[in-house]
Symmetry: C2
Subunit: 305 residues, 2 copies
């Protein structure tokens, strides 16, 4: 195992602990919805978004705990979106990461509520950051406020939900979607939460506006490249490797980057976007602390499964 | 028409304008989800929650605009909960307030997304309050932060969603629910957002902790009384008056306050809760500015339709 992979596993463990600290206790009359939330979030995801957030924060000199509620919050938002995406009226998926999806285990009504609960709890959790800064420190209060604002913007109709809306419409109506529309979907459905992660990490570390912008661009590149790679892997992947049927996009007549632009261009664009993302990092990393973050981005984009 | 009713209608109009100011524009690739959000929120609701919020704010001397994003936000949360409640996997309602429900008009997938989008947009909207206070004013920044925290707490698993979870379980499993469990449902599913409304109004007006607590209790009483009255009206109401079939709760074998405790006790408890709510108001209303708020509460609880 490479040093990078050893580091990565150790970091995933640390993040797992942080997320767990912020999960609700499974008790009270409303126990079932809390169990469904925790079942869904504790499904062994890659914790990519909190990791990008934390690494960006640390690269830019952040050291405090104020980032932690946001790390948990972004994973809660990601998780709620998966629960709702898997619903029968959406993608109707029975398995995710080799486990039964939330609605299969808890029923559809409870899956809708567990998703709602996680989205709501994400914001509840993010507001806990206010309790980690001095009530008289207007600068830090404002940073936390801006971070919550970014979280909301990137998760909602001008971010992830916007992308899901177009994705749902394209699929249900079997639209012959354009490259522009597909880029909109990838940028919003996938990249937006990654943008939020890196922007919040930068903002809470005290980065200036230009650096936050550069990292937003970096994250956009990472998100889009990640999604194009997903489209590539859907074609070449196998059931064992991905945990879902081979070529499921093609089977569903789903337009992807590969079906619209072809495999050659898809592979070329992944490389270009990846290089740009790395140079975005280098433009803000004045103290050369971004080595792990750069390796992480490369490994995410150029993953083979 | 009484003076109270004339005032009420004028206030509903004002609130309607404030809500509309905060609604998203229907454009972009994601136009459909925004249309579904706006269709749902602009359905002529009573705007009870923003009204209670605003009236509490004004009673306690609040004058600024900082309350407005929260007025819109609480109505967005209320609306999202109705959209998801109406879904086929939940209550499966095709009409609400005489109009087709969101999933009937836009399809189930889009209704799930429109609900998600409204919940998310509620928090996005609430964070706009930070832009209405001085970035250096730590006191106001902290009040806004606390208000967002209350919004999250009361809307989530320790509030509305908690109540919905138990309600869904009780219904699906035809549980022989206890009085305690029913009170939990009423307190959380209905009262929690009313609590948030009055607490946020008080907090942003600068009320002290004791006043906020008293108003939380007042709102709890209002919410529970409102819901008991709903149970009473379900029995005695008519299709024309309520816009839904007579005795729909009984038809669905749903346990209500009336079926558990009987009509006499239900009517008596509504009166007691209402009197307590009024005395809670009087305990904080040092300058006798709560006349409209008191009349509003009485009219809400003792409504006949």
């Amino acid at each position: 195992m490479s040093d990078f992979q050893t580091d990565l596993l150790a970091k995933v463990d640390e993040i797992e602990k942080i997320i767990k600290e912020y999960l609700p206790k499974e008790d009270g009359f409303q126990k079932t919805v809390i169990e469904a939330m925790n079942y869904s979030i504790l499904s062994g995801g890659k914790r990519l978004r909190p990791m990008l957030m934390w690494e960006t924060y640390k690269m830019l000199g952040g050291t405090g705990d104020v980032i932690k509620p946001f790390m948990a919050a972004i994973e809660m938002i990601h998780t709620y979106s998966l629960i709702h995406d898997d619903l029968p009226c959406m993608d109707n998926d029975e398995y995710r990461r080799g486990r039964k999806t939330t609605h299969v285990v808890y029923g559809e009504a409870m899956a809708v509520l567990a998703g709602d609960a996680l989205l709501n709890f994400a914001f509840e959790t993010a507001t806990k950051a206010f309790g980690l800064v001095d009530e008289k420190d207007a600068v830090m209060l404002t940073r936390v406020a801006k971070a919550i604002r970014i979280l909301g913007m990137k998760a909602g109709i001008y971010g992830m939900v916007g992308g899901q809306c177009v994705d749902v419409e394209a699929e249900k109506e079997e639209l012959d979607i354009s490259g522009d529309m597909l880029m909109y979907i990838h940028k919003n459905k996938t990249a937006a939460l990654i943008e939020a992660s890196m922007m919040i990490g930068a903002l809470l570390a005290g980065a200036d506006g230009t650096s936050v912008k550069n990292l937003e661009k970096c994250a956009e590149n990472v998100g889009i490249a990640f999604q194009i790679q997903d489209d590539i892997l859907d074609v070449i992947g196998t059931l064992e490797e991905l945990g879902k049927p081979i070529g499921s996009d093609a089977k569903n007549n789903k337009k992807t980057y590969v079906t619209i632009f072809g495999m050659d261009r898809a592979e070329r664009d992944v490389t270009t976007l990846s290089e740009e993302a790395i140079s975005n990092i280098e433009s803000v990393d004045k103290n050369n602390k971004g080595e792990f973050l750069k390796q992480l981005i490369i490994s995410l984009i150029h993953r083979t499964r």
